[in-house]
Symmetry: C2
Subunit: 231 residues, 2 copies
């Protein structure tokens, strides 16, 4: 690419940051890394870093995510661009934030090639984050909370086969409030989104519950069309 | 602000672009400016420009909009950040796009202080735009089309008092398809969003229709809560 520097004045630096949500048996979690350089050395932060001048934004986000956490092949969606003038104490840095939903069991964060440590934190138990990352995390959680109202979620967060209890747990964690079991089941089953399997869970102490999976075609159609899920 | 340039490598330039939608009696329109410098000299484009290093993104969008079109005091919402590597033929430029809805009658675009000409174009009759602005415009229209499904719109686009025909026209233009009149009226009145006035339109050739206005409290509540408007 020809480089005629058309804008002659000082420029902001550009970064990407990733909010990766995962679900385990108990909690909705977020993936954080511990910074090993200033500023905010030792503090936890969202994975992310500088965008190279010849690199697409999404590619930068994916690269930083895999360098810092070992996670690859997730579907990142752009969240919002944060540009407060003083959000980085070093200089003006504008960051394009992305978010992703992953099945936590399927992703090994130990594979990170970078020296920084990466770990999953329950959403209601995150440490104070570096920069404006608390605000970015809140924006991502709000987006997810809004999304469940008009699009199906869970496909990326749950294992292939799951119980209704697991699905309700996901909705409760996203919405951050308890849901009535009967009402939830009636609504979710009424949408025709789930396929009941001829299988029950195994290796559980309690009575084994029925397993379900998403009807992929219906799921994709509802993702496009949208609906109104009042719970 | 202390400037320790932490990122030593070449940097993208950062711009903002604004998609301003307005409604007149016939059409949903978008505000464009004609470029008077290369690249794309003479082509129409979205209002926008470079972000200053000490300027908030929203402030830059508002400044460019008022410099180039004379429009002030609109509510801008962030749309999406476009970062394709070759979207600007001069060099790498990442742009944060904003969009706004305005009552076209209330905004005089003649007041622009900039030499470029600004004009409103019907959404279905825009010229080929500079850069990737066709894609940005399409993204904004898609956002608006999605928004009407789960939030009320019209408050910013219509005059204070309007007829049901005007409101239906707005929805038809946003959704880009004709709607059944009886069905539309039943649904929209059923939401309790409208206040029927003891007034009819004046200076019209046809039979004067009843005027309505939005119940502001209800409108704001539904904007927050969301709903499902299947039409």
């Amino acid at each position: 690419m020809k480089r005629k520097h058309t804008y002659k004045f000082p420029r902001a630096a550009l970064t990407v940051d990733c909010v990766v949500f995962g679900l385990d048996a108990e909690d909705l979690k977020v993936l954080l890394i511990q910074r090993d350089i200033p500023p905010f050395e030792g503090r936890w932060a969202l994975p992310g870093g500088f965008v190279r001048v010849d690199e697409k934004l999404e590619d930068a986000a994916m690269r930083e995510l895999s360098e810092e956490t070992g996670i690859r092949d997730v579907f990142l969606e752009q969240l919002y661009t944060f540009g407060a003038v003083d959000r980085d104490p070093r200089e003006r840095v504008v960051t394009v934030a992305y978010y992703a939903l992953v099945n936590l069991q399927g992703h090994d964060v130990a594979g990170a090639t970078d020296a920084r440590s990466a770990a999953w934190f329950a959403l209601d138990d995150t440490p104070p984050l570096a920069f404006d990352h608390d605000q970015i995390l809140k924006t991502a959680h709000d987006r997810l909370r809004g999304k469940v109202r008009y699009q199906p979620i869970g496909f990326e967060l749950l294992p292939e086969k799951f119980t209704l209890r697991q699905l309700q747990n996901l909705y409760e964690k996203v919405l951050d409030r308890p849901l009535d079991k009967r009402n939830f089941r009636k609504k979710i089953l009424g949408m025709g989104l789930l396929e009941e399997l001829d299988e029950v869970e195994h290796d559980v102490a309690h009575r084994a519950a029925r397993l379900y999976r998403f009807d992929r075609k219906k799921y994709e159609r509802l993702t496009k069309q949208g609906f109104n899920f009042e719970i």
